[in-house]
Amino acid sequence: MNKTVNQKAWFLVLPVLLLVAFNALIPLMTVVNYSVQETFGDNNFFWAGVLWFEEVLRSERFHSSLGRQLFFTFSILLIEIPLGVAIALAMPRKGVWVSVCLVLMAMPLLIPWNVVGAMWNIFALPEIGLLGNTLNALGIDYNFTRQPVAAWVTLIAMDVWHWTSLVVLLAYAGLVSIPDAYYQAAKIDGASSWAIFRFIQLPKMKRVLTIAILLRFMDSFNIYTEPFVLTGGGPGNSTTLLSIDLVKIALGQFDLGPAAAMSLIYFLIILLLSWIFYTLMMRNEDQ
């Protein structure tokens, strides 16, 4: 059979091409453009080569916000993934409570991010917030606007509250897709509930958990709104994550060159780490 050559098909992909171009490619290229130039305003640009990249990579400030970012991301992954799986395992599989649980679980995901930040900010205020006031009344000295540790605990608690639901929903979807026959077969074999988890539920959830880890990793590495509203990066710089730092440089100081170089490095780090995560988890699958 002869292949039909029809160039009109290009028109069908054109909308997508345009969308991707305006959405991603053109902004990205603008950033690349800024990252290799120096400007003193008046729309005068001078070639700077890799100067900004060297500067960013050597800067103490970048290292410490990257460190805080990594600490934040791995902390919330270590809490949210096991917690999400545990909650999914505890949820009912049948009956009227299923929808009740699912709706309750989906609630935090429906709240706009800046609202989450504002909610937790008020909730944790030491004088008037329910959480802050209660903790202080119990004799715990807690003030997230002044103590770095308290700020971190609040920040992580907020993210866990906001995003564990996503892991729960994904893990739950993986769990309910396991046919009843697997549990029966395990029962016939006399398998313990740990063995059922280890050899049936966990392997069957592996794909959705891979997706959950990837999504949570990328989202938490990009996080801006919630910590910005909650702590604004403070006290001091103690909760200044990469994105908050980036916005400070780009919009606070208007250092376009270093900010552009930093966003590219930021972007490449996320891309690289996601790729490493994905390959590691998929290689496990193949073994």
Binding site: P179, A181, I188, G190, F199, I200
Partner: protein, 358 residues
Amino acid sequence: MALELKQVSKSVAGETHIFPTDMVLEAGEFNILLGTTLSGKTSLMQLMAGLDRPTSGQVWFNGQDVTEMPVQKRNVSMVYQQFINYPNMTVFENIASPLRVAKLPDKETRSRVGEIAEILRISSMLERRPSELSGGQQQRVAMARALVKDSSLILFDEPLANLDFKLREELRDELPRLFAERDCVVVYATTEPSEALLFGGKCAAMFEGAVAQFGPTAELYRKPLNLTSAQVFSEPPLNVAKVVKSGDIFRLSDTASWPVDASYQTMADGEYTIGVRPHHVYPMQKEKQLVPIDGKVQVAELSGSESMIHFTAFEDDSWVSLSHGVHAFDGGEVTTFYVDVANCFYFGADGRLISAGM
């Protein structure tokens, strides 16, 4: 060895899944549960296995009441319609898993797994994972796991339903061979009458949670006790119609009637139900004495060597004719079909078989 059900029933939330059932299943031959989906085959098997407790009645095994004994202690194996294996264990570890639970020495485990893998022709794949195998191979691994532990009761719940035609034939041939030398009770659920006939043994025709008839498979086919049993054991479905006997004549409709044979003379006058298997309804006249009926063709399915013609006859009854050769008809066409009345079943008003023809 024998598994005995004594007035076993099961109801869930006021709904009866299994009506009180008595059955004795013996070792040495296949015990087949035949019935459509939702006829209660799986529910009954779960009661036999001990995965489910009966609402009333008792389950006895080898003269011992095991009704309250949990499945782990009963030495049962089960193979499901889905291919159930532990996804992240190798084929070897999958087959060995029941032996590991039983804490068998490593050496014996190794030899038993090797032996069973040899029989099921999966020895070359012991180091692979189930996801790397084809459907047929995965199901063989599941069977090997069920067979490796010398169970006294093995349950097959439509194990071949998800396999393609060719593999199904292959495993069908292998199965009886596997049990030839084993002393265990084998129960096999299927929706296909042809599969039941192939395995022989004993068969229970199940309909809506009740066993319509239990006995030797061939007898079920030739002499169904009642209309339900005959309908369960017919694929394509049994053709059914009302017939009136008055004196020397059976009258099916205004145009279709035939003389009452000498052997039916004892039947009282009145209304009966006849059941005709589809291969006893022909789209053309044969040498034998056949009764012509008019039918409006709905659809004709031709498969090369056979023609299956669905038609409506006697008001709105759906009938099927299955015959050799290619007989093409258009939908809506009205034509004459020929019924071999000498080979039909006669059922009384209560559905019990009165005569199974000649």
